[in-house]
Structures are given as C-alpha cells and as structure tokens.
Symmetry: C2
Subunit: 168 residues, 2 copies
C-alpha cells in the first residue's frame, strides 16, 4: 500500500514541478531578467530559497523510496545553480523512483525509519509516509510554487496538480 500512495504520485508531482520550472524560465526570458533571480528568491529572509526548496522536494521523494525499501539512495551534492541543473536533479529522481516496484516495499509499513536528526528515535514506515514524507514533499513544492507566484510567474493550481484522470 505504501508504494501506491507515494511513488506514482511523487513521480507525477515531480513531473508537474519540472514543467513549472519551464514556465518560470520562459517567464524570466519574456520579462528579460536572468532566471537565477527566481532561483535565489525566497518569501522570508530566514526561509530557504527556491533552489533549496526544489532540492528538499527531490530528497524527500528519493529518501522516502530509499528508506521504505531499505535500499541505499545515491548521494547528490546540492550544487545546482541554474534552471537546467535543477531540472536535471528532478529528472534524476524521477528516474530513480522508476526503479522501484511494489515488491520493494514489502514490509515497509512496519519498518523502523529514522534519520540523523532524530537522535536514535524512529517512526514506523506507515507513520513516516503519511505524517512526514507526504506533507513534506507537498510543503516544498507548494513553497517553490509560491515563490514563483509571488514574483509574478503566470502559473496556477492546474500546473501544481497536473492532469487529472477524468473519465466520462
């Protein structure tokens, strides 16, 4: 079950995010400023900038897959400085998520999940997916989206949600 509620939807959201970055780059071109201005923007002086929001969204997806399956995740250096590099980061995580199958998540619900800052404490895989990974990825994608909206990039809720599988 945890595979179902994380990997396909994380993949979809990262693809949506990738297209939002294209719109941001096109908007900067059209308004004749460097897109790096957007990448360095933030909504509060003590909040992470756009680049860091994307890196954390990517890591949230990558580490969720890695931790729930018990597989080692590739380390990434957080050196992205351009829109193209951020898109490559997103695409690398989409590719990584694509390497997982439902079987990789056998036993994930009961697995003990921890991370360094939790100082030895853990939560179950079920709790981690529902109460940590999901709210976190949406938090960082929405914050990145809001940084662009605040700076006048013409994006809307549909760009965030992506295509819905409507039926008639």
């Amino acid at each position: 079950m945890l595979y179902e509620i994380t990997i396909p939807q994380f993949t979809k959201m990262l693809n949506n995010l990738n297209k939002i970055l294209d719109k941001a780059a096109a908007n900067a071109d059209g308004r004749k400023f460097e897109s790096t201005v957007l990448l360095q923007s933030r909504l509060a002086p003590d909040q992470f900038n756009f680049i860091r929001q994307i890196q954390i969204a990517c890591d949230t997806a990558k580490l969720c897959a890695s931790r729930l399956s018990g597989k080692e995740a590739p380390v990434q250096a957080d050196t992205e400085a351009t829109m193209a590099e951020l898109k490559a980061r997103i695409e690398s995580v989409i590719t990584y998520l694509g390497t997982f199958t439902k079987d990789d998540f056998n036993g994930a619900e009961e697995r003990h999940i921890s991370q360094p800052r939790w100082e030895g404490k853990y939560v179950t895989g079920y709790e981690y997916a529902l109460q940590h990974a999901l709210p976190n990825i949406y938090f960082h994608i929405t914050t990145a989206y809001s940084i662009l909206r605040h700076n006048g990039v013409d994006i809307g809720k549909k760009d965030y949600l992506g295509e819905m599988p409507y039926k008639k």
Copy 2:
C-alpha cells in the same frame, strides 16, 4: 485504506493549523497590529488571501470525507472575518471528520467522484484522494503558512508537521 490515509492525517493537519492561527494572533498582538491584516494578506495580487486559503483547506477535508463516503456535507457560508471565526471553522471540520468511521468508506476506492466544475466527468475515489484531496489540502495549508512566514510570523516546519509519533 482511503479512510486511513485521509481522515486521521487531515484531522492532525487541521489541529496543527489551528495552533498556527494562535501563533499568528499572538504575533499580531505582540507587534501591535490587528490580526485582520494577516487574514487579508496574500502572496500575489491574483492569489486568494489567508482567509480563503483556510476556508478551502477546510472544505477540502470536509468534502473529501463527504464524497468518499457518499454522505451529504454541511454547507458553510464562507463569512469568516476574524481569527476566532476561522478557528471555529477549523474546529467544526475537525468535529465533522470525527463522525466518520472506516466502515463509512467501504467501497470508496471505486466510487465515482465529481464536482460541478468537472462538467459531468469523474475520477475514482482512489484517484480523487491521492491526486486531488491530499495535494490540495497541503497546498492550501502551506500557502496559508507561507503568507504568515512572509509577514514575519515566527513559525517553522514543526508547526506545520505537528508532533511525530517517535519511538525509542
């Protein structure tokens, strides 16, 4: 399964949001301005203000429970103009979510879910929960949070995520 991934976590997030509103009110008091200034704030001129973000977050939770269970939801008038009224709205939805049981969600995954703006099209309950309700509630709570952060309210990620069920 859809009960599990929506109702308990939506309830938790609305409780977290309720406490964030308390912090916003206390911050406005401390800095000696009316908290209605925060309620009317937004991050872009063509984006919904704080009040509307909270109303939509509340409706996303309420309508998700209602639609997945096939039960009629109480109509709410969207007339909140003060922090106290917004908190009462949040609390009313928390109470409403508390009236549901797992059994109410029998068959929810295959249920056809629609809303007026979809013009007769539908998605399954499973698709609706994963691809619509969850990303939407996090979107509006995060946007409300970002409006406060942008205006200098001293809140952090822990206020958004709430308590994690750590074990040793």
